[in-house]
Symmetry: C2
Subunit: 146 residues, 2 copies
């Protein structure tokens, strides 16, 4: 443990929360397969105001979730290909959100969703159903664009 410095406040809080989580970990979650049970992958932003699992009702083991600054489809392509080819997912939801710092004021976020969905649909390595959405950080609501 010589290389491990004292835990920060964040780490102390996380360790405490995780102990509680482990205590309540349901037995049927112990043997979930790696392949997502819903055949679903979500690409979205790293934004702190969006918890996809809560907001979209995603059970443990059901869905691959890829997140990066802006919910970039281009950066997610490697992960999508791995997910589809190695773990048989066949549906992609691309979800950007309101008030995203990656898109300057005045940019049309709907256009950015359309652009990224088009990129994925045109990518030779990506297949399956691909839809595009916007999450509203002020209401928690999602809205389908395409």
């Amino acid at each position: 443990m010589a290389n491990i410095p004292d835990p920060s406040q964040n780490i102390q809080d996380i360790i405490r929360a995780n102990k509680e989580y482990v205590r309540n970990f349901p037995p049927h979650d112990r043997d979930l397969p790696a392949a997502p049970s819903r055949g679903l992958l979500i690409v979205t932003c790293m934004d702190a105001r969006f918890h996809p699992t809560s907001a979209l009702g995603l059970a443990l083991g059901s869905t691959h979730i890829v997140r990066n600054a802006g919910g970039s489809a281009e950066e997610a392509v490697r992960s999508i290909i791995v997910s589809q080819q190695a773990l048989q997912t066949d549906e992609v939801l691309l979800i950007k959100h309101t008030d995203c710092g990656m898109y300057p004021l005045g940019w049309d976020i709907e256009q950015e969703v359309l652009r990224d969905v088009k990129l994925l649909k045109g990518h030779p390595g990506v297949s399956g159903d691909i839809t595009g959405w916007i999450y509203d950080v002020r209401t928690g609501a999602i809205r389908r664009i395409i």
Copy 2:
């Protein structure tokens, strides 16, 4: 709506779950700032068996979460830099997990965590506290490596 095909079963389920989520969306979550309240960013895998927000007790608005196939630090660098420079996060947890399809049987996942933490610590664009962890998909427990 002409461009929008009939919703899949996944989409019907997600829309139903999201309606419920919106109904219960707490008023104090409507005006969360974009900057994560805990100054924290987590990099982890897209694996369906890990829900970081539940497993680590992360409140809405508290933490940036970056996810990709394997929890690649290299692929996360762009997002980390955006997070640190534009939204003032100053702590990074890199979390890989047991039974990860990105690491062939026999690979030492601890070594992969150490390698990725070293990559981030040596990156000229990345700063702050950086620690490395493993999440156990069978128990829900996290363990610190460095």
